[in-house]
Subunit: 354 residues, 4 copies
Amino acid sequence: MVVVMNPGAPQAQLDAVVARIESAGAQAFVSRGLARTIIGVIGEPSLRTELNLSGMPGVSTVLQVSAPYKLVSSQAQAERSTVWVGPEGRAVPIGPGTFTLVAGPCAVESALQTLGAARLAAGAGATLLRGGAYKPRTSPLSFQGMGEDALKILADVREATGLYVVSEVIDPADVDLVASYADMILIGATNMQNFALLDSVGRRGKPVMLKRGMQATVDEWLLAAEYVAQRGNCQIVLCERGIRTFETATKATLDLSAIPLVQRLSHLPVVVDPTHCAGRRDLIVPLARAAIAAGADGLLVDVHPDPENALVDGPQALAGAELRELASAVRQLPPLMGRLPAQPCGQMASQTLS
Amino acid sequence: MVVVMNPGAPQAQLDAVVARIESAGAQAFVSRGLARTIIGVIGEPSLRTELNLSGMPGVSTVLQVSAPYKLVSSQAQAERSTVWVGPEGRAVPIGPGTFTLVAGPCAVESALQTLGAARLAAGAGATLLRGGAYKPRTSPLSFQGMGEDALKILADVREATGLYVVSEVIDPADVDLVASYADMILIGATNMQNFALLDSVGRRGKPVMLKRGMQATVDEWLLAAEYVAQRGNCQIVLCERGIRTFETATKATLDLSAIPLVQRLSHLPVVVDPTHCAGRRDLIVPLARAAIAAGADGLLVDVHPDPENALVDGPQALAGAELRELASAVRQLPPLMGRLPAQPCGQMASQTLS
Amino acid sequence: MVVVMNPGAPQAQLDAVVARIESAGAQAFVSRGLARTIIGVIGEPSLRTELNLSGMPGVSTVLQVSAPYKLVSSQAQAERSTVWVGPEGRAVPIGPGTFTLVAGPCAVESALQTLGAARLAAGAGATLLRGGAYKPRTSPLSFQGMGEDALKILADVREATGLYVVSEVIDPADVDLVASYADMILIGATNMQNFALLDSVGRRGKPVMLKRGMQATVDEWLLAAEYVAQRGNCQIVLCERGIRTFETATKATLDLSAIPLVQRLSHLPVVVDPTHCAGRRDLIVPLARAAIAAGADGLLVDVHPDPENALVDGPQALAGAELRELASAVRQLPPLMGRLPAQPCGQMASQTLS
Amino acid sequence: MVVVMNPGAPQAQLDAVVARIESAGAQAFVSRGLARTIIGVIGEPSLRTELNLSGMPGVSTVLQVSAPYKLVSSQAQAERSTVWVGPEGRAVPIGPGTFTLVAGPCAVESALQTLGAARLAAGAGATLLRGGAYKPRTSPLSFQGMGEDALKILADVREATGLYVVSEVIDPADVDLVASYADMILIGATNMQNFALLDSVGRRGKPVMLKRGMQATVDEWLLAAEYVAQRGNCQIVLCERGIRTFETATKATLDLSAIPLVQRLSHLPVVVDPTHCAGRRDLIVPLARAAIAAGADGLLVDVHPDPENALVDGPQALAGAELRELASAVRQLPPLMGRLPAQPCGQMASQTLS
C-alpha cells in the first residue's frame, strides 16, 4: 500500500497517518519530495481492521500495490493448475497442455433434446456436457429451468454418452442437490458476487466453473475465486463470457485480453464462453477461434438439436454448419498452441492420462 | 415486437417468420418497403415459449417495443406508489409528496456504535435506520458482518430511538431471520440479479429496498423488481447507487437521469445512495443535493460516530460538518420539490399521517 | 510517481530502475518490504523523455501520484476562476458566486429561428446565446450547419438582444473566423482530444467552453484544458455533458459527481449541458435542477421556437412548459447555493458588475 | 424506421405522426394492436430534414431499422474490398485472401531508430511501415512528434527497405503534406469523429486507415468511414484498437467481435492494433494471435529497436523474443484462415499479384 499525502500537508497530519499504520502492526516508509510526501506501507494489517487511511486529514490517495487475492494468485503457486472433472482415474482435465470443449444445451428441456445435444457435442469433440437445470433469467416471465428433473436427465445422458456433467446452481440451498448429480458446478455471471453461493460451493468441494460477472474487473473475479478457495476448494476454472460495455451490436464485449492476463496473475485454468456475448450465431465461431488462439484452456458453447424451438437462447445455439466449423477449429488450432487436440471422451482419457 | 427482415429476404423466409408468429398465437402485420420488409408483432406469446425469431433465416433484427415488466410498470398503475415502513399506524412513508432520509452505519459493529450512529441519523432528519448485519464484501478477508447479533442490536436501537430498521440480506436462507428483526429488507447491488434471493424476499412480503446493480440497465432493474412483485410483494423501493463506467475518479458514476426516468416508467418510489459511488466524503453532500433536486423520494447515507475507526467504508461515512450540511440540504430542498421536509420520527408521523 | 517491483525482483533489476530514474534527474526513494520493494520517484523528469519504467524487467506497476495537469490545477491557483464573456465592462461572468444560463438553438437555421430562440432564451434568464454554425454530426447525411452565414445571423441577433454569442468550431482553420464573430468558442465533445484544434483555440485567446468527451476521464478532460492553457489562454470553462456507458435508456449518462470533483481538482468554472445526454425532453429539467444543486456554475441548454421542425436535435430542445420550468429552477435554486440568480442580460450586468 | 406510439395514444396523435411522415415524402404503414400501435416508415426522408418524430406527442420510441451508412455497407457491395497501398503494380494489398502486417515505431525519433525499427518490421514479415510524425498525446507535456522531418526520414527508410509508409495526420491543414510523403494516411482513435479531418482526408484520395474511437460503436465507426467514402475516397481500411470499458487492468478492451461483425456489415477490410489496448508487452502476442484467428485482414504493431529508450509508448513496443513470437504467429496462423502468409515485401508482391 502507498499513501500519497496532499501537497503541503503539515507534519502533524503525516505523523497521524504513520501512527495509524504502525498501530496496526505495519511499517511506514516516508519519502519526502519537494511537492509531496509519499508513505510506503509494508506488512499486512490484521484481517478485521480497515485502516481507513483514505479518509484521514491530509491524505490525497491510497494506492494498493499487492494483489488482493492470495490462494488463487500465481504468487501462491507458480505452476498453472489443472482441474479434473469426473470420477478419479477417468476424469477430464482442464488446464495447460490440453484443450477441453464443454458443450450442451443452455437449458435442459427434455431427455430427447438433451441426448440429441449431447451427441452433437460429443461429435464436435466435447468431453463435458453443459446443461442448465436452474436458469437465472432477467425476466420472471421467462422459462426458469426444470430443476431436479433436469438433473436426472443429465445424469442419464452421462450414462449414455460418457460425457461428464456441468450444471449451474443459483441458490445456496441447492448446492448439495446439484453436486449430487453434476460433476462440476457452474456459477453464472450474475452470481459471481453472490457471496452466500460462493461460500456454499466452496464448502461443498466439487470442481467449480466460475463465470466472470458482466461488471467485474479481473481483480474482482479473482477475489470471487478466492472466496471459493478460502473455503478449501481450489478446483476452480475461470470462465470469461464478456463484459458490459457501451457497444450494443453484441450482447457483451468478449474480453480476450483477460485470458493471458489471468494466466499471469493466477494459476487457475481459464476457458471462454463465446456464445452469450455474441448474441448471434454467426459471430460465435470466429470468437471461439480467437479464444483458442489467445491461449484459453477450453471453450463453453451452447449446442441444441433444434435451435429454432429452444426454450432459452435458441438464436445463439450452434448446430449444423456452424457446429462443424467449431469442431474443425477445435481439432486444428489447439495443437498449434501446444495443446493436445480435443477428442471424444474415451479416447482422450486413454491418450492423455496414460 | 418488430421483426426487421434482411434487404432482399425472399418471400419464403418472410412466410416462415409470419407462420411462427401466428403459431404462437400472436398477430403479424407486414409492411413492405422498397429496401426492406418489417413485421409488427401484436399479442403476447405464451410464457414458456421463446419465439427465437432473431435466429431465423432472413431476419435482420428483432426490436422490443413494450416494456418487459408489467406489475411495476406505470402502465399497470398511473399513480405513483407510497411504500410504508414500520408498524401500521406509525409507519414511515417513502413516496411522492414526502422526503425520507435513511441513515446509519454501513455495518453494525457494536451496540454503542450503532446507537451513536442512530442518534446522529435522527439528528440529521432520518426516520429510518440503516445498519448491516450481513455484508457482501468483494474480498473474503474483509469484515463480513456480525449476523444475528447485529440484528438484535438494531432492534434494541429501534426501541431506544424510534427509528425503524432497514437491513440487508444476502442469503435466501436468512430472509426470515432478517425479516423478523428488520422493518425493511435491503437487497444490495451485487444481489440485484440474485434470483433465488428475489424470489425469497418476494414471498416473505416485507417492504424491500432494491439497489440497482452496477451493471444493470434501468430495464433490468425494473425486471428485478418485477420478480419481487410477481411473488406478491409490491412494497418495493428502488435505490440508485451508481453504475460502473470507465471513470475511476469515483467508485461508480451516479446516474441521476435514472430518477426521473424510473418515475415515468414505473410507479415505484426511488431513493438515491450517494455514499458508495462517491468513494470520498467530500462529494457526498453535493450528490445528495443533486439527488433531491432530480426528484428522488429519499436518500440512503452512511453515518458513523467515529468514521476513522469504522470496520467498513469509513472514508465514506458522514459525521461532523458534512453531516450538518446534509441535514441542512434535507431540510431546505425537498419543500422546493413539493415534498414535506424530513423531520425526526415522532413529529413526522404526527404531521404527515394525520 | 511510485514504482512497484515484482515480488522477489533481484537487486540488479532494482538498481537498473534506480539508475534510470536518477539519470533523468529525479530522485529515487527505496522502501523494502518482506514481499515487495517500492520506489518513490521525486522530481519532474524532463519533458521530452519517457522513462519507460513500466517496461523494465522486474517492474510490476508504475503509479502516478501527481495530477498530470499543472496550469489548470487547483494547486496552481487555490481560488476558483471566473471567466468573463463579452466586451470589457459589460461582460458576463461564469464562475463562483454567479449562475449563468447559456441557451439557444443547437444549430442556426435562419435569422427568424435564431431570433425567436434568443428571445426565449433571454426570457428564461439566459445571458449568453448558443448557436451552431458548424455541426459535428455522426452521419455525413445530416445537416452540417450554415457556416459563416450562421455566424452573421448570430452577430445580428446579439445586436438585437444583448446576448453574447457562444459558437462551436470544428476545424482549426476556422478558429479565426468563428472568433471574429463569437464571444466565446465552444469545443464539442467529439473534439475534446482534437489536439490541433485545442492548439489553435489556445493560441487565439478567446474565452473557450470545453465539453468533456463521451469517453474522457476527468483527468483527460483537464489535460485537454491544459493544452489550451499552455498556449496562453486560461479563459476556459469546462462543460460536463454526459459520458458513454452501457445504459441506453438515455443517450449518455450525465456524470454530476464530476462537478464537485473538478471544482476540487481545478480552478476552472464548470457548467452542465443536460440536453444532449437526456435525449428526451422530459428528463432535461430534472437534470438541470440536479446540476444546479450539485454546484454547477451554469447551464447550457437547447431552446428552439419550433422544436418539431428543428433541423438538429429537435426532440431535445426546450420550449413552452418545459422552458418555463427551467426558468423557474434557474431563478429559484442558485440563490440557495450562494449564487446570484440569473437575470436578463442588462439587469444582471448592472447588478453584478457594478 | 419504426415509430412506436404510447399505449392509448389518441387517434389525433397517430394522425399527426402519419402526416409528418408523408409530408417528408415517405410512406407510413400502421399496425394496430390491443395495447399499442406501431408505424413502419418506408422511404428515405430528404437529407436536410430531421423528422423529429421522437419529440411528437404520443410517440414512445423511434427505432432505426436500416444501417445509417450506405457506401461502406455490405449492401452497397457484397464482395469484400481490397485496399492497395503503394505505387501501382507494386502495391501491397489489405483485404480478403491475404494477411498484411504493418509495423514500425509509434513515433519517428531519428533516422537510425526508424531504419532499425523498419528492419525489425521487415524481418517479422511486415510489408508496410508505420511511423508517427504527428502524435496526438493526452498531455501537452509529452513528445508531440518531429513533424515534416519525420516524414522525410520515413521516405528515406522506404527507399532503403521497400516498405511502404503509413503515417498519422491530426490537422486537416497537414493532409496534403503527409500525403505527399506517405503511402497511406492513418486517422487515429481520438480523431475518428474529427469531421474536418475526415472531410480533408476524403477529398485527398489516398488510402486511409481509420482507427475506431475508444468510445465509438461499430455503427459510428462505419459512419465515420462513410464521411471519407462520401468525399470520393473508398480506399479505407478499418482498424480495431480497443474500446474504453470499466476494466483498468488493460488500457482498453480489444473488441474482437467487431472483426466478424464489420466484415458482415461492411465490405471494407479491417485490421487490429493489439499494441495500445494491452498497455503491456506480454499481452500483445496472445491478442495478435486472437486477432488473426478472429479473421482480421492484418495487424498493426509497434516495434522499436530500443524500447527502453523510446520517446513514446516504449513499454508496448515489440522487440527480441516477443517480436520473434509475433513473426511466428504471422507465418503460421493466416494460412489456416485461408490467407496467404505474410512475407517480405518483394516476394509477396511477386507471389500474390501475379
